[in-house]
Assembly symmetry: D2
Amino acid sequence: MIDRWHDECGVFGIYNNAEASNLAYLGLHALQHRGQESAGIVTSDETIMRTHLGMGLVQEIFDESILAKLPGTHAIGHVRYSTTGSSVVKNAQPFYADTVHGPIAIAHNGNLVNAGALRRSLEARGSIFQTTNDTEVIAHLYARSQKEKLLDRLVDALRQVQGAYSLVVLVEKRLIAVRDPFGFRPLVLGKLKDSFVVTSETCALDLIEGEYIREVEPGEVIMISGEKGLQSSRPLAPAPPRQCIFEHIYFARPDSEIFGQPVYEVRKALGRELAREHPVEADVVVPVPDSGMVAALGYAEESGIPFALGLIRNHYVGRTFIEPEQSIRHFGVKLKLNAVRYVLRGKRVVVLDDSIVRGTTSRKIVKMIREAGAREVHMRVSSPPTCYPCFFGIDTPTRKELIGSSHAVGEIARFLTADTLGYLSRQGLERATSYGPYVYCDACFTGNYPIRPDRPEGTQLGLF
Amino acid sequence: MIDRWHDECGVFGIYNNAEASNLAYLGLHALQHRGQESAGIVTSDETIMRTHLGMGLVQEIFDESILAKLPGTHAIGHVRYSTTGSSVVKNAQPFYADTVHGPIAIAHNGNLVNAGALRRSLEARGSIFQTTNDTEVIAHLYARSQKEKLLDRLVDALRQVQGAYSLVVLVEKRLIAVRDPFGFRPLVLGKLKDSFVVTSETCALDLIEGEYIREVEPGEVIMISGEKGLQSSRPLAPAPPRQCIFEHIYFARPDSEIFGQPVYEVRKALGRELAREHPVEADVVVPVPDSGMVAALGYAEESGIPFALGLIRNHYVGRTFIEPEQSIRHFGVKLKLNAVRYVLRGKRVVVLDDSIVRGTTSRKIVKMIREAGAREVHMRVSSPPTCYPCFFGIDTPTRKELIGSSHAVGEIARFLTADTLGYLSRQGLERATSYGPYVYCDACFTGNYPIRPDRPEGTQLGLF
Amino acid sequence: MIDRWHDECGVFGIYNNAEASNLAYLGLHALQHRGQESAGIVTSDETIMRTHLGMGLVQEIFDESILAKLPGTHAIGHVRYSTTGSSVVKNAQPFYADTVHGPIAIAHNGNLVNAGALRRSLEARGSIFQTTNDTEVIAHLYARSQKEKLLDRLVDALRQVQGAYSLVVLVEKRLIAVRDPFGFRPLVLGKLKDSFVVTSETCALDLIEGEYIREVEPGEVIMISGEKGLQSSRPLAPAPPRQCIFEHIYFARPDSEIFGQPVYEVRKALGRELAREHPVEADVVVPVPDSGMVAALGYAEESGIPFALGLIRNHYVGRTFIEPEQSIRHFGVKLKLNAVRYVLRGKRVVVLDDSIVRGTTSRKIVKMIREAGAREVHMRVSSPPTCYPCFFGIDTPTRKELIGSSHAVGEIARFLTADTLGYLSRQGLERATSYGPYVYCDACFTGNYPIRPDRPEGTQLGLF
Amino acid sequence: MIDRWHDECGVFGIYNNAEASNLAYLGLHALQHRGQESAGIVTSDETIMRTHLGMGLVQEIFDESILAKLPGTHAIGHVRYSTTGSSVVKNAQPFYADTVHGPIAIAHNGNLVNAGALRRSLEARGSIFQTTNDTEVIAHLYARSQKEKLLDRLVDALRQVQGAYSLVVLVEKRLIAVRDPFGFRPLVLGKLKDSFVVTSETCALDLIEGEYIREVEPGEVIMISGEKGLQSSRPLAPAPPRQCIFEHIYFARPDSEIFGQPVYEVRKALGRELAREHPVEADVVVPVPDSGMVAALGYAEESGIPFALGLIRNHYVGRTFIEPEQSIRHFGVKLKLNAVRYVLRGKRVVVLDDSIVRGTTSRKIVKMIREAGAREVHMRVSSPPTCYPCFFGIDTPTRKELIGSSHAVGEIARFLTADTLGYLSRQGLERATSYGPYVYCDACFTGNYPIRPDRPEGTQLGLF
């Protein structure tokens, strides 16, 4: 999946640290792979909450003078690639609002499936919406709650929403972390000396030299306060865990541990299973960098076929890259990848990617490998065919555009011009993750959605 | 009032023109003197409404490609210098929100005095606030209105607010212009061929080569639609007009006509009255540019003392100007003004400004004139002493900081180191404007506020 | 001459001041009207010379951190609008080079008329040219000089060049100021406590609170060093002074004193002479702001016709201003000027500008005044018809484009659609400046060039 | 060598293509790893040559409108990280100058060792220098040549310089490519339909879908013209080839083929030799990404120890990254690298890097691996100890700072806190590159400089 410069969202929160905004900055940098479109930090000094949001990379939005204007001992932060809503700064997060209960800031990773209905209902009761973020819905429900206590109000709100949400919430004196009962998106708890940290992936803890404690569990609500320290509760209706398998397959950083398992371990196991399921006589295993790297190592180890870096990535491609005149040609993936002739020439090549979305990029990669002299090109994919759009926080195209939804594997192989094509089976996926099928959400492969979305595909927000 | 790089707000709206966003851009350029902090345009093509907001000057925020992304035949725009709220892009206007009645965009010039109370009441009913703009209050009230018709809903909202508001409102197919019953801030109606235009000052009409029709009158609501054209009504509780006298004294551009009178004419009359009230034997009348220019011409004409440009303004001072090391000195007004020795040397100088706020700048100007060789410096001010803060849209400091509120004229003269000091009397002001005292709001001179603000001075928003 | 956002160049030098770069920054700010395209500062701490150049306004190019990287007790600076060469940063000045005699930096105001020939000759001897600045020629000649002493080498170079040059030169331990024997461009000497200052206009001295000593005289070379202080010499072949009369008519700031006379005084006298030469029965005298202001005051005083600000300038028009779609209309001068109806309606108007170049802008101004209701429009110009291009540092178009070169006054009046048109005569100009015709260069009116340019008009650099 | 965001220079030239500037843009993008500080393109339409230079990445400097202003069928381009001279835009290349022989533009990769002496000699003959680029020396020598023909003049110049130079030179109608007789830096020749291409590495050819023809050979001069096509000659004094071995070890992209050998192949062989020379009982081979990747694959294959991605690189670290308050800690390499606990915990780890410069970064990496739970850390380096600075275009610190110059291997191991440390031997290096010792320059390991630099270490330009 080389053609994706970005994906979904990352969240970070730290409580009780004199360097809160600085550490949030570092944490967001470590989570940059989860969203490159916008970023923001909200801090609290227990009296005043301050916000800075912007479009672009964390390091482009913040500098020393801006961080200095964000004093306070508590902070939450967010990096975002929009899965709903358009690319404008007002959609950047954390979402901040004044309510009857005082100011509140919310950093949200995930997608609500009943946001549209809730929005219409809230509007009918007089609410106005200034963003297209699902998160705004949560803030409205919180503000309208009649409950007396902070936590009860938030729970009141969350009981009305359905979908994926890993939240970090900041009010003046407290920080709250919530993971929805299905646990779609990751969220981990850590410590840095006397400070608590909550964040999407452990790699953010590593950078700030924090200590990993454990996952925030599906359905768990953690409140951190000065008086009572950390308090955990489970006030939401329980549900069977449905953690996003795609985090392990593609999204999370390979140095992170999520859902209780090292990402690296899972990816390598995926490759090994794939080698068992789809062996082929070949000379070299080549990953599509960077997402296919670890699985390719697993495939190579299991198959005994040598691993090689037959595709080199140009890491300088940023958002401002322009393509010259169409009169020459369309460059697309060539701007990012180049084939290594020496590695590929005359070889029977296994090329390994984590998934195939539309198929157009994979087709170009196969072509590129063949032009570099490969004798055979065998495509291997470390997940089952992606046939269904995601409604829980992953930016996939509509069903129609997913080549896996309408084409048999043989047809796809022909489209890619690959000699053979092998997808990992669902059984292989289960084996590799060492869990049963009911622990992960695999709706993108099966259409077996844990919750039915309220919006028919293709009708809203340009998402489906 | 040389030390003010900016002041309050300007609004612009155009209905039924294929070049709506381009014309809004031009209109905002003509209103740039009313606010340099942020600007924005919202357009409607009768189906979709589009927004672009930014910090800075109109010409820095918009370029051809941005204007091209704002298609539509109706547009409203806003330039802003914050009188409430902080300097962040989310406070930029027009304010846009989705409501149960559909999307609405509001461009607002003025200040509500009961915004705080309304906000608290709305919050108590579950509303959340994302900006510190008063305008957001109006949008909430509109959204919560149970009335069936668009106009009734807006009127419903406006009946609850108190204070200054000249509004231009855009919904998908209609444009509405409203001026509060006191008529604090200006608003004029014009035409450009088949298009209606509503804007703060006639200078915006002049630039787009539109035709001035008349003022939107205090308390008037004008709705423009495709089916019925322009419809005027007066659904708000009537009030005696209280048009901001400071618009004539300082804010408006001298080429505009507001409140039914040419600004130039009023300013010149102010100078003439001042000459009658505070004559002095002198050699030259020198204006503080640019705001004191026209009144100085009036003073010179009436007194027979020659007019001269004894102070020259450097128009290149922008917001990014940095002052070098404090180890040298504080430059302040010198960066903007320089004295013309030839004009001032050995002379008895009348220096004319529109008002004195804190007195510190005037003191520097007197000093500068004296250092250029003036024998005597007689300060003349074309308005009465500014003693009370404004609650209706003008950015004045707290009472404590207003030198006029705590010092007698003689004391102020000594502070300024001026030989004499003369302020225009309230009677002189009345004569110059040719109206009675009850037509204008002159609370900044008299403390006679048409509406009592709900927030005690000094307690809120850093304003007082 | 409203349609000129910029003109030529300004120079500044300061010797022996711990705040040299800060003061150069302020000095350039005061000279910003002399060039808005690029700016630069070179400093010396007597061992190392440091340079910072950029495109844009002084305040956009420099900030605190950049000034902090320019330590040293001596500094020279330059603001530039290109009269030769293209708009690229490598043409920004001061010009800096390493030579066999050590590093040298030159800030140059003026134009050499034999630069092309010298360039060709230098190239023939092996020199290479990296800019299109005339200044580079001087540096080459200096570098090639066989003289032993710094000053002799510079004089050696300057004896070979012909044309206009007011130079400020910095080497590690010395600052040199030179004005060409004709003295085309201004240059003044001042003091700030123990520091010497050399700059184009006295307004730069005023801002830094320096003291004006005297002009650098035509043909004078001033060297300032630590050991010997200020030394003046006159090593260049003497010539009759030919100071640019256009500095007084248009370029210089009215608060400056140049060529030994206050600019304000000269401009006012020009207006008075014009009133005597071209009286007219009228109701109001209106200047084209800002350049026509002072002359209009003179005209009004002499004629007894009241002075009024009938045209208002929008000072927010910067270089980034875009004009919307041509499908509407060409805005041109309207973006900068607006007519004041109240002042002009029904009136017989004298409109006063400093000069007419192509005539197209003046035509629009006449039209604008008439549309504002003027009954008659009488154009008065405070200089004779501009008939010849300038070769000495003023950015005028080719002869062909100068309406004065090909049309009689009556024809021009008809083109402008003015009721009458009156230019100041050359005799009037002489009287107003109180000098004889031989003290000023008035070649733009007479074609009587003090030096013959070596490049035929229209053949080079887009200048002629 | 993770702590190096950049290195030296890359050049690109294309002759006879309607899309010359677009293709140069793409070519420079492919060469971006060779220099991220500045970039530039010069084009020729056979009459006019046009230049655009800037600071930053290729994609930040150029956009569609800028490329559109660079018409012409021939173009050369340059990306640069300064090895001499300071970081200012005037040092950006290609270097452009007007000479008696017409305009010339030069893109230069390499360093001249007698630039200082030549500069002094040229200055003594009257030349002036505006940059600190060595390239300017070549332009001066070319300009001063008395030869009649273009090529003879260039050769005349090059016969006087000593050091490393791979040049692409553009004059109005011709493009010339030169590689110095030692062939220090790479340069390859290719084709794109009817166009000739010359560039530093084959990866630039790959991106534009050009065809690799061959290397420009050490000492070869290639002139491309419309009339005669490509002409090759060898007018320079021959020398034994001394191609930079560090290009293979570290600089070049692994998908390139330089000096006639695929970079990937050489790096893998380096790893294999290293495994033979420095075997160790271990559980996992971990590369320092990205430069140690391929050698680590070789080491793993040869040793039979599994390869693993135990260090993950954050590719979002750009030049604007700020480190928060020092009060927390110094982050350094942690911003770029993170250890994968799962891979390292309890393991005996071989960590492989291409070289060790100061040792401080390697020490942090060892520490990071140990903190991730490694039981043993064995550092392996795929080149001999770097003991001597490079004078031919690689940015290495002074001898004093090179840990290899003053410490024995055992001492370095202790400094790094590594259990063992093994450098590849010079013999291993020779074997891996399959050439003899006399084909490559390995002065950084041996001090055996092919040419003696004229400047004593540590005295000039901050380089040594």
